[in-house]
């Protein structure tokens, strides 16, 4: 994939390619004076799973939070470059991050159910956006819990507190909560690193089912997981402490894991495998 210089110019919007859900061009990211990411350019394909891999601290979470503008909540952060969602610049002046976040859901490493019932957790988003009728809410709650592979376990205890569930169930509850607002994109920041293997299996299964309708980006430290669940893989690296991290290699997962083009990618992957 090569990009012309013109594409790096501010304000340039790539032509809407049917296959490209999110396009990133020349992205730089700053925490105050510290530049965390430099010159990231890539395309995230529609209805696919993209894995972000790389050592700790190389800016994977930071990059992920650029997509739903969650970094806006951190004081002193700055984004340069371009990110488009369906061809629209998400950092354009008229864009409300609150609206954007309805379209781009996020799952965090630590399951974070709200201190309320399972039902209310899932109904939270739809209620925010104006859904009031009990029948409608009931239906969204059921569908979302089913899509999150949690329905069978909780259908009789919907009134119980979300925090009473096991860690893995909590994580799936968070997924159901996000699915209830019907996002087109799902950002998952190491969703499986704090939970039990059964739940990991269920989450990997649901990702495969979801990707026909949702574009998924997952950060993972687990190479096997990246190889199992993703269609494309991006490898990030911060080569020098204190310097910004960059995107070293981006391509089809099968290619990245079998014949990486970059020596650094190969070192990282083989190092991790054994």
């Amino acid at each position: 994939m090569s990009h012309t210089l013109a594409e790096h110019q501010p304000g340039f919007v790539p032509t809407a390619d049917a296959c490209v859900k999110i396009a990133v061009r020349g992205l730089d990211f700053f925490y105050g004076d510290f530049q965390a990411l430099t010159d990231i350019t890539c395309d995230i394909r529609d209805n696919s799973v993209t894995a972000f891999i790389g050592p700790s601290g190389c800016g994977k979470s930071t990059f992920l939070r650029c997509f739903n503008r969650m970094n806006d909540l951190i004081i002193g952060t700055k984004v340069e470059g371009l990110i488009t969602l369906d061809g629209q610049d998400i950092y354009a002046p008229g864009v409300d991050p609150v609206d954007l976040r309805r379209r781009i859901g996020m799952i965090f490493q630590q399951p974070n159910p709200f201190p309320m019932s399972i039902y209310d957790n899932v109904a939270y988003g739809p209620r925010l956006h104006g859904m009031k009728k009990k029948a409608d809410l009931d239906e969204v709650v059921e569908t979302s819990l089913k899509r999150a592979n949690l329905w069978k376990e909780v259908k009789d205890i919907l009134g119980r507190g979300g925090l009473t569930l096991s860690g893995g169930q909590q994580q799936r509850l968070c997924i159901a909560r996000v699915l209830a607002v019907q996002p087109d994109v799902l950002l998952m920041d190491e969703p499986c690193s704090a939970i039990d293997p059964t739940s990991v299996q269920k989450i990997e299964d649901l990702m495969a089912e979801l990707k026909s309708t949702v574009t998924i980006i997952i950060v993972t430290h687990n190479m096997q997981q990246a190889a199992r669940v993703s269609d494309e893989t991006a490898f990030f690296l911060q080569e020098v402490m204190g310097e910004p991290a960059m995107l070293v290699e981006f391509g089809r997962t099968a290619d990245i894991f079998t014949s990486p083009k970059d020596k650094r990618t190969e070192d990282y992957i083989t190092g991790r495998f054994g």
Binding site: R101, P113, F114, L128
Partner: protein, 278 residues
């Protein structure tokens, strides 16, 4: 050498133990003293009837009503103000000079001697605003006393709500106000209520403020503009003017029971909350 160490250790432990025990002994002694002297006087008639005669024989019902009324009204006044101020401080204010000044003011307000606050209430509410000696004047002055306590505990309660829970809400497309009102405040509620209960306990036991603002008249207040006499003021007068010492002890015992009840329910709430949040 080793022996020295062991002896020093044991000695230090003993000192700490004695210091800790002192607290318990003092508390026990106070409770026992009040209990022994007051229990003989404490009965349903004492609680539910009015005093009569020159020595205020009979019950203390008007004082109980006055105390509850003035405290309840103060709560109603202080809660919205304190909670809004705390939400502003914790969530909205740009953390800078103004916030530091507000916080400093709250801490200083908390340290103002209550008799000074009483004098201030007398000047401002009783005379300045013309509310006279009344439950209303008392409640307003008491709310000044409670405000910093409730505000600071509420602010801490709000700050204690984990960041990642807020992020979950923002991530679903919630606005700041939606996140604060639907997630942060409910999650902080048990600790906020704990703060309120503790402040209430403080208000129930307050004497100087109410003697200056609600007055000393034995009266069962109906309207907020009615005067009244708090239990603490009654206790003071019964004891200091030597009118009726048994009634003083009975009142003291009831006061202690009330405050103990407030403290225990605050503890219970905190504990239950900790269990629920894991």
């Amino acid at each position: 050498m080793k022996d020295m160490k062991r002896i020093t250790n044991a000695l230090a432990l003993a000192v700490f133990w004695i210091a800790g025990l002192t607290t318990v002994v003092v508390l026990g002694a106070v409770i026992l003293y009040v209990f022994v002297n007051g229990i003989g006087h404490l009965n349903l008639a004492f609680i539910f009837t009015k005093p009569h005669g020159v020595n205020a024989e009979g019950g203390i019902w008007p004082m109980i009503v006055s105390t509850m009324y003035v405290t309840g009204l103060a709560m109603v006044i202080v809660t919205p103000i304190a909670v809004l101020a705390a939400v502003y401080l914790a969530e909205y204010a740009v953390q800078g000079r103004l916030v530091r000044i507000i916080r400093f003011a709250a801490d200083t307000l908390a340290g103002v001697p209550s008799i000074v606050m009483g004098l201030f209430g007398l000047a401002l509410f009783v005379e300045g605003m013309g509310f006279g000696f009344s439950v209303l004047s008392g409640a307003l002055a008491l709310s000044f006393l409670m405000l910093p306590i409730v505000m600071r505990t509420t602010e801490e309660a709000i700050r204690a709500v984990p960041k990642f829970i807020r992020w979950g809400s923002y991530g679903l497309g919630a606005t700041k106000w939606q996140t604060v009102s639907r997630i942060v405040l409910p999650a902080a509620m048990p600790r906020i209520i704990t703060g309120l209960i503790l402040a209430t306990g403080r208000a129930v036991g307050e004497t100087a403020v109410v003697i200056f603002t609600m007055g000393t008249m034995i009266n069962t207040p109906l309207l907020p503009t009615d005067p009244g006499r708090s239990m603490t003021v009654h206790l003071y007068q019964m004891a200091m003017e030597g009118i009726n010492l048994p009634a003083a002890f009975g009142t003291a015992l009831l006061l202690m029971v009330m405050i103990l009840f407030f403290n225990l329910s605050a503890r219970w709430l905190l504990r239950r909350n900790r269990r629920m949040q894991g």
